[in-house]
């Protein structure tokens, strides 16, 4: 086991290194950002001073090494546009994205798992077909389009829910959160729903497949023979049987939700990291792009690692040495 952990850690480190190099080299292939930073009629001196100031006159590999060194010390450079440290910028936007992504994943699980279990329990019923249709739509319809429809329906036509900003936040530990007030939740509902649709579809599929399989297992037959009600069987036996793959995907999907937040945040003008990266791409704010991508890559690698390692904790069959058989 320790050997496995070390191997996985080394692997994760290598992936991170490769990612950072790729991202850095790639992003520096875009046009010259200096043109965006200073006005075109600035004197040659000002221009040269700016280039020197941002280190843009160095060869790429030196810029990368410097970048890597700063990366290890947690310094991702300064935003060319906002002129504040990238880390500070990203982390100031992170809570908005985190709470959005977390609520989306939760909505997806809380609604998707029961629906999927029902669809797997009664695969041929009309309701189940409806549930599966929702899941097909959730998979194929682009997120941005669902967002538009949500805005059109609930914000424009019905006027029930606000859309278009984050609304009021409450400061806790110096960070603003939306989920603590009703009004904040109202603002969060549409974007969270939007972002959750894909997870919902995924959870439905996974829960359905797992339930279908579990319902045919001897475990369920035995539980039925013991006179357990169908609800108890689903709630206690089947849910536990299918929970391991569900939790795994839940963990992995949290990472991709952060990525998908790019779209949702843009539509709903949600001031998170997703909107930040789109803005920084359009304004060629290289340090922010690099910083964001490296952070997301780091997050992904970490999540993958955590999921791999937590497998053993979730499945009692993989746990060892509690009671000797």
């Amino acid at each position: 086991m320790p050997g496995y952990i070390i191997q996985r850690l080394l692997q994760a480190g290598l992936v991170m290194l490769a990612m950072s190099a790729l991202v850095f080299a790639g992003v520096h292939a875009i046009g010259n950002p200096i043109d965006l930073l200073i006005s075109p009629d600035a004197t040659q001196d000002i221009r040269a001073a700016a280039i020197a100031h941002y280190g843009l006159d160095q060869p790429l590999w030196r810029q990368y090494l410097a970048f890597l060194g700063r990366l290890l010390s947690g310094d991702l450079g300064r935003s060319l546009v906002f002129n504040i440290p990238v880390t500070e910028l990203v982390f100031s936007r992170m809570p908005a994205t985190l709470e959005l992504a977390l609520s989306a994943v939760l909505i997806g699980a809380v609604i998707g798992v029961p629906l999927g279990m029902w669809a797997g329990y009664r695969p041929d019923s009309v309701v189940s077909r409806g549930i599966m249709a929702v899941s097909v739509l959730g998979f194929s319809v682009p997120t941005f389009w669902v967002g538009l429809i949500l805005i059109l329906t609930f914000a424009v036509n019905l006027g029930w829910l606000p859309a278009g900003s984050r609304g009021p936040t409450v400061e806790v530990f110096g960070i603003g959160w939306s989920f603590l007030t009703l009004e904040g939740l109202r603002f969060m509902l549409l974007p969270a729903l939007n972002l959750s649709l894909f997870k919902l579809a995924l959870m439905i599929r996974l829960a359905r497949a797992g339930t279908r399989e579990a319902m045919l297992s001897d475990t369920v037959k035995f539980a039925r023979a013991a006179g357990l009600s169908e609800f108890t069987i689903l709630r206690h036996h089947v849910l536990r049987l299918i929970s391991i793959p569900l939790v795994t995907v839940f963990g992995l999907e949290f990472g991709s939700t952060l990525a998908f937040a790019v779209v949702t945040e843009t539509i709903f003008s949600w001031p998170g990291v997703g909107k930040l990266i789109i803005d920084s791409i359009t304004s060629l704010d290289r340090p922010v792009m690099v910083g964001y991508l490296v952070l997301v890559a780091f997050l992904f690698v970490t999540l993958n690692l955590v999921v791999d390692l937590s497998y053993a904790l979730l499945d009692p069959r993989l746990r060892r040495g509690r009671h000797a058989a």
Binding site: A223, P316, R317, R322
Partner: protein
Amino acid sequence: MTLLQVRDLRTHFLTRAGAVKAVDGVSFELGRGEILGLVGESGSGKSVTGFSLIGHVDPPGRVVGGSIRFDGQELVGLAPPRMRELRGRRIAMVFQDPGATLNPVLTIGQQMVLAVQAHRRLPERDARALAAERLTRLGIPEAPARLDAYPHEFSGGMRQRVAIAMALLHGPDLIIADEPTTALDVSIQAQILVEMRALARESGTALIWISHDLAAVAAVADRIMVMYAGRIVEAGPVRATLAAPRHPYTRGLLDSLPATTEPGARLRQIPGHTPALLSLPPGCPFAPRCGYADATCMTAPPVIEQDGRMARCHHLLEPSP
């Protein structure tokens, strides 16, 4: 006293290709505390008979006809909630592979508590106490502590003991054991066999022991029923029947046992395979494999009852000399 009375039970699987008559007109009776061995090759319909009794045939299977009277109550067509109340409380079932029947991600205690609370409103503590008591009765050491263990932490034999303990939770009148020892080591098989027989005797529980293993049935049962292609071909007291089988199929099963043949002699397997239930030959379904078959076997064989024994054959065997 009669506990169970099955009349002309028919369980068919309605597939696209046609109705598969897995159980096709099975009738028998079972007294309180009696142990019945139900024998047949795989595909003979013996397991489906068991599942029909607890009202849980997998779709597309369905009980399409006949009657099951359990302690005076008709079970065919009984409303599912009523049936559920009987299952586990008055009719329990034990399956072949305890590794597959116990939920691998729940502790034994959690599963047993669920089974207790399916029929009795007991607080968890009392339910656990009951579970521990039953486990102890099945010879599981340190039962209260073992409740927190997962199934994989038990050996195969111990797991089956846990499953049997679960079946005994509510002191049922009838236990249906579907190949309960097949997945176990031979030495453990014998132990479980003896223990279950003793438990059934002790508590007055009737037992239907479903198996393809004639030797196991001979050791445990009072009466034996032999099934072939969805029908009972021979039934009677276990000793008399196995000493002098009247149906050629029973004879064939006996001859394929190692213990009954002369040492060194070749085991005589019954030639051919169990027939496909979709395309049964007319007349006796065993005829294509039967050494005694002739033209009369193209018609349905008569049921002959004599001295408390029954056989369904045109050519009853005489007791061998």
